[in-house]
Subunit: 460 residues, 2 copies
């Protein structure tokens, strides 16, 4: 079985933890592995690394590569497909299916969202084996058996029993609480967003119900295809229309981690019902979610969410967790870059954090991964000082090459070509003090780069 | 008339805004001037600068000096009295009164707390003139006419009317809401903590009612006096016992700024009742107090206090503002230094902020005031890099002296004697990267200092 991981989402409902260029699936929310990495692990239950495909976008391609390399998993680079623009799940899946068919005629394909949390138990494995069987001439979806009348999920009404599952009678939208109770009583299932189908069956049903998508992908170029393709979910575009939809029920703990209240539900709580990350002092406080970067001291607080990311503090009652997107929309309309950019920015070579900004200066901490190097670059408006605080740097400044060890420093004048390399096996940390009249990330000329980012792009 | 400003308080009810070594009276809560500075302005209504006395402690002496110099007010240095230890208001006042008497026999003295907010109107001036008259043979206190039944203030029950005021029938403790309503109806007044008296009358009444205080101050040394003196407020120790207490009513807006809810009441509110400082985005949020250092984004919040000081976030419902002291007590019992030390530490030469701390390194921003210099010092466990980001530094490293301009840098090896001086008329800003195995503030040997802090003290 092949697996397609959908990793192009830019979910901002966990903002400011997630950002436009660092979305939910790549954050380490629960432990050392991200939701994306957990999804890769699930894919490996049924697929070889070379049978795993990932759809993402250009900006997140290196996050995918980085998180795979961290796991020691080698998925062929050509299996990581970058969409030029996000058009919801149907074009993403069609893009991948078309790519697979071009390479090897057809396959059974499991489609997994990368931003859900799901527990793998025996039932999970059994369900996927049933699905593989059913997928010969059906489009299989999975329905999670509800544990409570949840108003944040879509539901599937199962119909006639068939071998290993049910025909789908209807897909139903997120209900209000009364309807949700009714659905749970009647045996409706939560729509999990996971699918298994044969690529030929999928193409057939797509041609039948969404010929515009098929037509779009006949374009000369990918960008043209995406320009033409309608923005559609597979649910709305195909699953709700096809007669071949079946649902396999699945009893396991599952969450779409769709907002901070969902996160609160998943996190472990103390005896007062508080879920906390970071340093907290909570007195007479109950049922709060506190994610801190510095000491959070609270007294008398209840049912409240506080998320501190160093550059932003989010504050909302748990019952309003869904409305965080209103904040994000407002900031987006003001072109506030904190919607897109996290305090710590990932780069193919590691990451950097802006520690402090003042008039004419900026202080950054750079973390360079072992065996990586930044581009050979120069700036036209700023000079830079580097102080190595951890590890060892191979440095080029102008024509000179030398090594900087912990406690050593160097100066990069304006316009001087320079490069940092971490040739060691240990992480390198550098404090960079930038000085100049303009300190934007776009003041960079890349002369040479290991990651194909040559000449005047954004970022460093 | 002389004025005594009580500025030794270490109030932590506005923590984390106020800290042990940076208490409420010195913070710029409302505008460019601190409560202490506003108190000095009030003192100047009736006293010449050389008639103004300040009681504070050794650690805050330079804060007093700094804030006076900022105002361009020259109070003689010998009028700033430092208590070796805080023993409430009675010993503080006695200390000052004794000092004044030793210098010039006797005087009429106004005593003003430095951490209250009070509007100076015509009534204020009239009340003080009445008080000056009454003070010939009375101990005068001021009673603020209540605007509502406040449960956070003590009350004064006025008795027989006398010229310019009332005899005091009773001082009453902070009441519950019902009692408060009764008091307001009956014409009781808020106890303002301000006094006017003749120093001879004060000494007489003190001798009569608190001979232990008088006795303590007969000791050889100040530290002995303070070791012996009981910890007593002037209210409890003298005013409640003397027959000479009178109260002058005063109708003006007044607050003891005793907690964040009091601050909320004073701050200007937007149309939704939110009082904010710093960058905020509030949607569907009402009646909150938000004091931020970075973007605070909130949706659906009501009646909540959030105070962010960069190193600490305080979160509490407004109704629990009084309970912030419980948090402080808990942290104190854990010897958490964030109770005492603010993120930005004041020094006689300016201030410094710890921007970032990591294993073996610390980044500080130093702000050096014009015409000031740090001590000539050295460290035994750390080296330092300095980058000037604003202004111009006169620097001594070892035997060398040189000037560092914006964008210039130097290195201070371990054990090397060094000094920073700002000889210019402009503020100097330096980014300091410290490297070493031990980075505590106490790794400092001061060889020479403009502020008398020679040899191994704490601080830099």
């Amino acid at each position: 079985m092949h697996t397609l991981i959908l990793a192009g989402g830019g979910g901002t409902r966990l903002w400011p933890l997630s950002r436009g260029c660092y979305p939910k699936q790549f954050i380490r929310l629960f432990d050392d592995s991200s939701l994306f990495q957990k999804t890769v692990e699930r894919a490996l239950l049924f697929s070889e690394p070379n049978e795993i495909y990932v759809v993402t976008n250009e900006a997140q391609r290196f996050l995918v590569a980085e998180q795979l390399s961290e796991m020691g998993i080698e998925i062929p680079q050509e299996n990581v497909l970058a969409e030029p623009v996000a058009k919801n799940t149907l074009p993403a899946i069609y893009f991948a299916v078309k790519t697979i068919i071009e390479r090897r005629k057809s396959a059974t394909l499991a489609v997994l969202p990368s931003d859900h949390l799901i527990e793998v138990n025996e039932e999970y494995k059994k369900a996927f084996r049933s699905a593989e069987e059913l997928a010969k001439d059906r489009l299989v979806t999975f329905g999670i058996k509800p544990t409570r009348p949840h108003t944040g999920y879509g539901y599937i009404k199962p119909g006639k029993r068939i071998n290993g599952g049910y025909e789908v009678d209807a897909f139903v939208e997120k209900p209000d609480i009364e309807k949700a109770r009714e659905y749970v009583e009647k045996g409706y299932l939560w729509n999990s967003g996971m699918f298994v189908f044969d690529t030929r069956v999928f193409i057939e049903e797509c041609s039948k119900h969404q010929p515009a998508v098929v037509e779009a992908f006949r374009s000369e170029s990918l960008s043209e295809a995406y320009a033409k393709a309608p923005s559609l979910s597979i649910d709305y575009g195909v699953m709700e229309r096809t007669r071949k939809a079946v649902v396999v029920p699945l009893s396991t703990s599952w969450s779409d981690v769709g907002n901070f209240d969902a996160l609160y539900e998943i996190f472990e709580k103390d005896s007062e019902g508080n879920a906390t990350r970071g340093e907290c002092l909570l007195l007479d406080s109950r049922n709060n979610l506190i994610i801190g970067e510095r000491l959070v001291a609270a007294v008398g607080m209840e049912d409240t969410i506080l998320v501190d990311t160093g550059d932003v503090i989010l504050l909302t009652p748990r019952r309003d967790a869904q409305r965080v997107k209103k904040l994000v929309e407002t900031l987006k309309s003001r072109r506030d870059r904190r919607v897109e950019v996290p305090k710590t920015m990932c780069r193919p070579w590691g990451c950097f954090t802006v520690i402090e900004e003042g008039t004419n200066y900026k202080i950054k901490k750079l973390v360079v991964l072992p065996k990586r190097r930044l581009s050979l670059q120069r700036h036209f408006h700023r000079s830079e000082y580097w102080v190595v605080v951890k590890g060892e740097a191979k440095v080029r400044v102008g024509d000179k090459e030398f090594t900087l060890r912990r406690g050593e420093t160097t100066f990069i004048p304006v316009r001087e070509v320079h490069r940092i390399e971490n040739a060691s096996d240990e992480t390198l940390e550098i404090i960079e003090v930038q000085l100049g009249d303009y300190l934007g990330e776009d003041d960079i000329e890349r002369i040479e780069d290991d990651f194909g980012r040559v000449s005047k792009e954004k970022g460093s």
